[in-house]
Symmetry: C2
Subunit: 222 residues, 2 copies
DNA sequence: TAGATTGTTAATCGATTAACAATC
DNA sequence: TAGATTGTTAATCGATTAACAATC
């Protein structure tokens, strides 16, 4: 009974959640108390029904004619994503991208706390970058075991990404956020999220190229 | 007849293309000449039929029992995405992320060439970062018009993202690659690709949180 | 009350997977 | 030849959109 069959959450819905959050926190700043999904849908150019369905996934219940209470909705979404519980993470690779990630303050508000950085480069080991200590990658396994950290962020080059992933998995890391342009092989049970810049670039390039081809051959105008 | 009805390419297929390319370029380095989609599918944990369909989108024709010629397949995919034609881009915002993007050499191979950076910060204006000159954002509009650059990359904070987007659109930019955590409003005809870190983080957080909840309540084991 | 909005069920749309003939 | 693999059509699956009753 308590174990109600939880059907899997659509991934697209999950990816929209932070988008709603951003919009909502703006409203919250303006001290708006109620929001309708009609408003959110218009603001974000989405279908109102889609928004309603997404929001209902988080368990919130709205009031007909009024909408949803902004503050409660924010909490509801954050809980749904898991951002109300802070998770610690280790980051491997403090080149330009890794450094940028350490410098980006926004993760704190998203339940993520990068507590240590790691690298192979002796010049970087022992330093602090944006306030975070950088250690030798060799020290990662025991530290994962001691701290119970579950999230590993890979910001190394493509060539060493797999070996870093292997090390993380062996150490007990359960979720990997991969910024390296490489497809990682990991055992079942380990979660990988790829942040694949080239995928987005491909979509942009293709769409732009198509528009340009169309323009240079201005036969039928739409 | 030449104007064959081009049905829209599925976005997921497009996003997989760079993944295929990475795998293929490894084979190419090893001087492997032929590849089957069975192989690609196994390597990338995809359905073989899906791979076959994706590849056929690019127009390549394979040989039964043999597969596809690696080198030709690479060219075919690159042409399909539009990466065989180099496109110039302007980047606005050279904070830690923008700097990282300027330092990342990988875009060259993906048809993207960041030729200038822009910022508001007088301390940065006039300098060079990773070999790229940084100018005042005010100089962007005339330069877009002079150069005909079509792609703008937004790497500023959330609060100024919309105004940068407005400026780009007004200047004639046709495609925006948005790294700011903000939803941009742009007119029809302008293409926006969001590189939304928090979306991926949400997926990872949620899946990890679910695994953990399950573990702390080890009733039915799968 | 009237009307805007929620919540839910049904219909549509798009992407993936299955089935199978063609072929080297 | 036999068998692996391509290419394509049909079936399934999942996500979005449409329709509509319930409600404040």
């Amino acid at each position: 009974m308590a174990d109600k069959l939880q059907k899997p959450v659509p991934k697209p819905s999950l990816r929209r959640m932070p988008v709603y959050l951003r919009c909502l926190s703006q409203l919250d700043l303006q001290e708006t108390e109620w929001v309708s999904c009609t408003y959110l849908a218009e603001e974000l150019r989405l279908d109102p029904t889609l928004v309603r369905k997404d929001l209902s996934l988080t368990g919130i219940v709205g009031k007909p004619k009024v909408g949803y209470p902004v503050a409660e909705l924010i909490r509801s979404i954050e809980h749904f994503i898991g951002w109300d519980i802070k998770a610690d993470a280790f980051l491997v690779g403090v080149g330009s991208l890794g450094t940028a990630l350490l410098g980006y303050g926004g993760f704190q508000g998203h339940g993520l706390n990068i507590i240590l950085g790691f690298d192979y480069d002796p010049a970087k080991i022992g330093t602090r970058i944006h306030g975070t200590s950088i250690l030798n990658v060799e020290e990662l396994p025991p530290l994962v075991q001691q701290t119970g950290v579950q999230i590993g962020i890979i910001a190394v080059g493509a060539s060493s990404a797999q070996s870093v992933a292997d090390l993380m998995v062996l150490s007990g890391i359960r979720g990997i956020w991969n910024f390296a342009p490489a497809h990682l092989q990991v055992p079942d049970g380990v979660i990988v999220e790829n942040e694949d810049l080239s995928a987005s670039l491909a979509v942009l390039s293709r769409r732009l190229a198509r528009v340009n081809r169309q323009r240079s051959r201005p036969r039928s105008r739409r």
